[in-house]
């Protein structure tokens, strides 16, 4: 008699998680997981940052700490120090009191809050028809985040040039020029996911010029600050440049990768407004959205990051840990490219070292990807994206040989 949910169809699993599952179930001892974007050591193990272990001990030993609710917008010392990481300590916008932040559940949560706010308040009260542009390709969850926030028109902007294996700048600028005014653009601050291809400084300046002239909204996604070059400030160049150009903007920050705090869901939506009055009103409306979604954010991860960022020796140690991770990735890039060249694998492989961050768009096509998975037990995304962190000194020869064999035998 009871109303049943009989009409619930089976949903297709999220690709990146299915890949990890299939990898787990594979019995081949030589298997390699180049799927999900989490850092691995040269032993192929997850890495809890040494500074994180230190700060965890500090937290455990501090009996004055409890598990009370954080404020709706989160831990204040986390929000402000996190925004400083993105914008720079001496950011004029911060000095002008027009920067605020919302602590969120990871980078995803920050994108979600920003999207929900924009839909309600950006350009009039109902932005369901306002176009949201995401790069082609982009992180697969971008589409869903904005669509679920109510945006009916989520479109791609040209970004990746598959033929030349680099940035399609003309296409990108062209889409900026032809986008309806007030369109929202999701920009990857650095270490573009999945292509690893970032605009140069001059290219960013060109993008900014068009966006300013055509009144397009800047929404940065910054999930890999520190991971691209190994230097936090260098990786924040684009975000900071846009601030100097006077944009009001959002920057969704994730501390999943650069702090290795994946499962603590540590994120920050940094808001740059025209002035403190606008900022105040924006934050008050953000509170309303937070309240009907998760009420207030989780405290553990934010506490950890706040203590680290606000304690000079710990901050220095963290930067060092970040550099360790970035350097290992750079080493694997160099090694892989060298080995492919030595094998004389057909094609050019410069993109492996030119691309930046955790990911590389190998250029392998879906058939080749399938071959890699089925015949070699090397797991990568159908797009040809590999996670460089999955490479180690122990498996890199096997991976290089496999790529070689695949490219030679499968077209």
């Amino acid at each position: 008699f009871v109303p049943g949910l009989f009409n619930v169809p089976q949903a297709t699993p999220v690709a990146v998680f299915k890949l990890s599952n299939d990898f787990k179930e594979d019995a081949n001892p030589k298997k390699v997981n180049l799927g999900v974007g989490a850092y691995r050591t040269d032993e192929g193990q997850p890495w809890v940052l040494p500074v994180v272990k230190k700060v965890e001990k500090i937290i455990v030993a501090d009996n004055s700490l409890n598990h009370e609710y954080l404020a709706i917008l989160g831990l204040p010392e986390f929000r402000s120090s996190a925004s400083k990481i993105a914008l720079g300590e001496d950011s004029p916008a911060i000095q002008e009191n027009r920067v605020g932040a919302v602590q969120c559940l990871g980078g995803t949560g920050a994108l979600k809050m920003g999207a929900e706010f924009l839909r309600r308040w950006y350009n009039g009260n109902d932005n369901t028809k306002t176009p949201v542009y995401v790069s082609a390709p982009t992180w697969e969850n971008h589409n869903a985040v904005f669509a679920n926030a109510g945006f009916e028109d989520v479109r791609p902007y040209k970004y990746w040039d598959a033929e030349k294996r680099g940035l399609d700048l003309d296409g990108f600028l062209g889409d900026l020029e032809s986008a309806p005014k007030h369109s929202i653009f999701v920009l990857h601050a650095c270490a573009h996911n999945p292509t690893g291809t970032d605009p140069t400084h001059v290219e960013w300046m060109q993008v900014a010029e068009v966006m300013k002239r055509r009144k397009l909204f800047v929404f940065f996604d910054s999930a890999y600050q520190g991971f691209a070059s190994g230097c936090l400030d260098k990786d924040a160049w684009a975000v900071r440049y846009f601030v100097t150009q006077g944009f009001e903007m959002f920057c969704a920050q994730s501390f999943s990768k650069n702090f290795g705090l994946y499962n603590e869901r540590v994120g920050n939506l940094t808001i740059v407004a025209r002035d403190s009055d606008n900022l105040k009103r924006v934050l008050s409306q953000m509170e309303k959205i937070v309240r009907v979604t998760w009420s207030n954010p989780p405290s553990q991860g934010a506490r950890l990051v706040a203590i680290t960022l606000n304690t000079p020796e710990l901050f220095a140690e963290w930067k060092d840990n970040v550099k360790t991770m970035a350097d290992r990735v750079l080493l694997m890039r160099a090694s892989l490219q060298a080995k492919l060249q030595a094998l004389e694998t057909p094609g050019t492989w410069d993109h492996i070292t030119q691309q930046i961050g955790m990911f590389s768009f190998t250029g392998l096509n879906p058939k080749q990807v399938e071959y890699m998975i089925k015949e070699r037990s090397i797991y990568l995304m159908a797009s040809g994206r590999i996670n460089m962190c999955g490479l180690t000194t122990k498996n890199i020869d096997y991976v290089a040989e496999s790529i070689h064999e695949t490219v030679v035998n499968v077209q």
Binding site: V2, P3, L5, F6, V8, P9, Q10, A11, P13, V14, A38, P46, V60, N66, H67, E68, Y69, L70, P92, L105, G106, T108, K112, W121, Y122, N125, N141, N148, A149, T200, H201, V202, K212, F217, Y241, T244, Q245, G246, E248, L261, Y262, N263, E264, R265, R274, D275, L279, R281, S284, K288, R291, V292, T293, W294, S295, N296, P297, P298, S299, Q300
Partner: protein, 420 residues
């Protein structure tokens, strides 16, 4: 060719470029009716001030209470040196299994047959939101959610934001400060079929008024006749009577009677894990196959909100629930918290009598859980806040958890002063 950023920063003030703002039309949002109370309290300089707003437990010194079993669990977890890899979208398996068992009982047929899906959520709010989103998307037969009158203030905006429509059924009787059983039955009998009805499993928020078991039985029967979808909100399991199983009785009874309910659980209060955001959302399905389909859709809903849930609190809760001596200790501590509240209720009434109040305060003792619906009117509440620095929500709700043996006398003074 790379421009010198320092030069740019030095030479141009960013606000030179700022013409207008995107946000000039953004209105100032009103303060949250519940959380806003704490903020007003913080600003008050009166040394006798009392925060009886938000439902967070306090010990008899008025201090936040970190449960001993929580500290032990944390120490155990720290010693394990676990990694920080992403949880699955649906959360920590050890937690979700234990969460379902806690609500439904160890030997529940639903769990044995695998026909429930339980996902980890961002505490109670996150659970309600996922539930609201799920029903909005898949329960296409009806858009209406019936809340008891009154209900937790955040229920309405959550469901509304998810695209549902809110209606109400009679629940609280202001004349008796108790349950309007007949009124509830009358209203429920008129609810259109397949609508969603929200029931507070125990320790009703804000009134503290719970149906008695015989009354629950009649409600369950009527709800079955009306063919309604039951959404249980259980945020206080253990806190109402001090007994975990007793507080889950209604939930378990409904399931026994064949209702395939949806259920939100929170561990904010009963484990004191407020800021760690620990909760669960359960859908009781017709069979394991349906549960798999529902699970796949819940994941699709969760991923674009926050991808996967936070580990820390769930790991603590799982450790407690799955470690026999920690579980035993926890049951004792929950019992202790509930008892302190019951004692405060008795003391408040005793003190009101001592002050010379001639009003009937029996409801303060009869009501159950963290909250007490005093019966104070908004003007009286305003006076209590203004003249005595006693902070509470304007519906007259006080959090008994904020009352201590040290301040109960002062509270009685204030309440008597505004009601005599």
């Amino acid at each position: 060719l790379s421009p010198n950023l320092d030069q740019i920063l030095l030479s141009a003030k960013a606000s030179d470029y700022l013409i207008g703002s995107w946000w000039s039309e953004v209105q100032m949002g009103p303060p949250d009716p519940i959380l806003g109370v704490s903020e007003a309290y913080k600003r008050d300089t009166n040394p006798k001030k009392m925060n009886l707003g938000v439902g967070a437990y306090r010990d008899d010194q008025g201090k936040p209470y970190v449960l001993s079993c929580v500290r032990k669990a944390e120490a155990q977890i720290a010693a394990k040196k676990l990694d920080k890899e992403y949880l699955a979208i649906g959360g920590l398996g050890d937690f979700t299994k234990a969460c379902a068992k806690l609500a439904l009982g160890d030997n529940n047929e639903v769990i044995k047959s695998g026909r429930n899906i339980t996902v980890q959520t961002i505490s109670g709010t996150g659970s309600l939101r996922i539930g609201a989103n799920f029903l909005s998307r898949f329960h296409t037969e009806a858009r209406d959610v019936y809340l008891p009158k009154p209900s937790w203030g955040n229920h309405t905006p959550i469901f509304r934001d998810a695209g549902m429509q809110l209606k109400a059924y009679t629940y609280y009787d202001p004349k008796t400060c108790g349950f309007d059983f007949q009124g509830a039955l009358n209203d429920i009998s008129k609810i259109p079929e397949k609508s969603i009805i929200m029931l507070h499993a125990c320790a009703h928020n804000p009134t503290g008024v719970d149906p008695r078991p015989e009354q629950w039985k009649e409600i369950a029967n009527l709800v079955k006749k009306r063919n309604l979808l039951v959404f249980f909100d259980m945020a206080y399991q253990g806190f109402a009577s001090g007994d975990i199983d007793r507080d889950a009785w209604a939930v378990r009874y409904f399931i026994e009677q064949g209702h395939n309910i949806v259920l939100s659980q929170s561990f904010a209060k009963n484990m004191g894990l407020y800021g760690e955001r620990v909760g669960g959302f359960t859908v009781v399905c017709k069979d394991a196959e349906e549960a798999k389909r529902v699970e796949s859709q819940l994941k699709i809903l969760i991923r674009p909100i926050y991808s996967n849930p936070p580990m820390n609190g769930a790991r603590i809760a799982a450790t407690i629930l799955n470690t026999p001596d920690l579980y035993k200790e926890w049951l004792g501590e929950v019992h202790g918290m509930a008892n302190r509240i019951i004692t405060m209720r008795e003391l408040l009434v005793a003190n009101l009598k001592k002050e010379g109040s001639t009003q009937n305060w029996q409801h303060v003792i009869d009501q159950i859980g963290m909250f007490c619906f005093t019966g104070l009117k908004p003007e009286q509440v305003a006076r209590l806040t203004k003249e005595f620095s006693v902070y509470m929500t304007k519906d007259g709700r006080i959090s008994m958890a904020g009352v201590t043996s040290g301040n109960v006398g002062y509270l009685a003074q204030g309440i008597h002063a505004v009601t005599k």
